[in-house]
Amino acid sequence: MQIWLDELRGDVSWLGNLPAGLVYTLGIVIACKIVLVYASLLAGETVWLERRISGRMQARIGPNRVGPQGLLQFLADGVKLLAKEDIIPATADRPVFILAPIIVFVGAFAAFAVIPFGDGIVAADMNLGLFVVLSLTSIEVVGIIMAGWASNSKWAVLGAMREVAQMISYEIPLGLSALGIVLLAGTMNLSDIARQQEGAIWNWYVFRGPFAFASFFVFFTAALAALKRAPFDLPEAESELVAGFHTEYTGFRFAVFFLAEYSAMILFSILTAVLFLGGWSPGFPVDLDSGIARWIGALILFIKTILLLSVMIWIRWSLPRFRIDRVMYLCYKVLLPISVVCVVGLAVQVLVAIEWLGLEHAVGGWLGGK
């Protein structure tokens, strides 16, 4: 980003006359705005995708009136939600009630800053990329607890408590299964992780041996729990808790929760594609490094994201909800042991590749090189 801005300052004279710090700050702000708008629009379309797929699965049509195939349905929904009355319950804890959707929104959207949408198409290319995503998404949970608490309603508090119980269970397998990929890659920079998987399809981290393969499924399952998606939608559980933590929210505040949920889905889909499914690599050696070609790479990553989103939707409309104790059982007694074995196995795999096979790093040569 900084290099790119330096080039721009060299090319455009009046930008060069501005203070460097101001240009960097504005550049970062504009880049984040673009990412924010893009993620919001994509979240709106994901809602449409979900409604259409669920319609198909239940032998009905789904929204198809607004725009071609109903693609603009989210705009109509948005206008409807804005027009609704904004109710704050009399017994609610007012400041916390108002603050909660903002915190959830920040937690869901902030992490997009470090997510690469293609080779070099990233707002902030940080060395800590993966770690930043995991830490910022954990903020969302605090917002949900605030919402549940401040609503001063039984449904909301129960939903918030379930969210906490669920969060302390899924976070460990989620982090550990991602850690295995960090071991293989030797970096937490998401762009670098994606670049290492370019070339043939067996360069994708999901195909680098049995431990990486198992890690992928642990990661995806834990991600579903993190997203509160069925079968892990206990904090909302509309058939038991009305709407769980956001029962008391109406109008725009509810829309923010809704948007945050779908943008988090997109976030984790891109993250899964980048970590395990080759990022912008089409699965065969092709040069996508420069100019217009990187946008083709971005399109490939986009298609992978849509496919993963469809899998999430497919799972939601196929499986019944877990019970909270079964969620904790699954996370602590099934996913956690698997992910620990995977981390140790991947560590041994990297060690063998470096020490005995004399390879530069596990990346270069394990099960095929570039």
Binding site: S13, P19, F131, S138, I139, V141, I145, V164
Partner: protein, 179 residues
């Protein structure tokens, strides 16, 4: 196109950000200490955690900054609020109404403050200056962990003691309930 006098804040910006973050940290820490409702105190604590994470980031310690967020906001704060929710009292009191307790809290707080103040005053901090380029802090931290002469491994092993304390606390709490 000429640009009219836009002041170059590049040099003073870190200082401005530092003062903003420090002010936020102090104000939210005070709010956490003085909030009448324990849940509000917890959420004020979150703002303090974020401010401190921002200070770390300002120092170029990005790994420490995001560790602060993931450990304190994502972990400790969530558990703290969970504990408050489980006690199931809307107006959870801190038990500070009784004058004796209040006195004890003031004394303990003052002693701790004086200890810390002396320790900070007695230490000379070398002025390193903010790094101009992002450093690979993660690698340095990783090497420090595996350094045989470093102190990080014994320090981390000491945290096993905390785990033992937790297990012990859970055991005691359980015994009390069943009797």
């Amino acid at each position: 196109m000429t640009v009219a006098n836009i002041p170059d804040l590049t040099e003073v910006m870190p200082e401005l950000i530092f003062h903003a973050l420090a002010a936020l940290a102090i104000v939210s820490a005070l709010a956490a200490a003085l909030a009448p409702r324990i849940v509000h105190a917890a959420f004020a604590l979150m703002a303090a955690f974020f401010a401190v994470a921002g200070l770390y980031a300002l120092l170029g310690a990005d790994f420490v900054a995001f560790s602060q967020v993931i450990v304190y906001v994502g972990g400790i704060l969530v558990l703290l609020v969970f504990g408050v929710l489980l006690t199931a009292r809307t107006e959870a009191s801190l038990g500070l109404e009784r004058p004796v307790r209040r006195l004890f809290a003031v004394v303990a707080g003052s002693v701790l403050f004086m200890l810390l103040a002396f320790a900070i005053h007695g230490t000379t901090f070398a002025a390193a200056g903010a790094p101009t380029e992002p450093l690979a802090t993660t690698e340095a931290i990783g090497r420090a962990f595996l350094d045989p002469e470093g102190m990080l491994v014994p320090f981390e092993l000491a945290s096993v003691m905390l785990l033992a304390a937790l297990v012990g606390a859970a055991y005691l709490a359980r015994r009390r309930r069943s009797s």
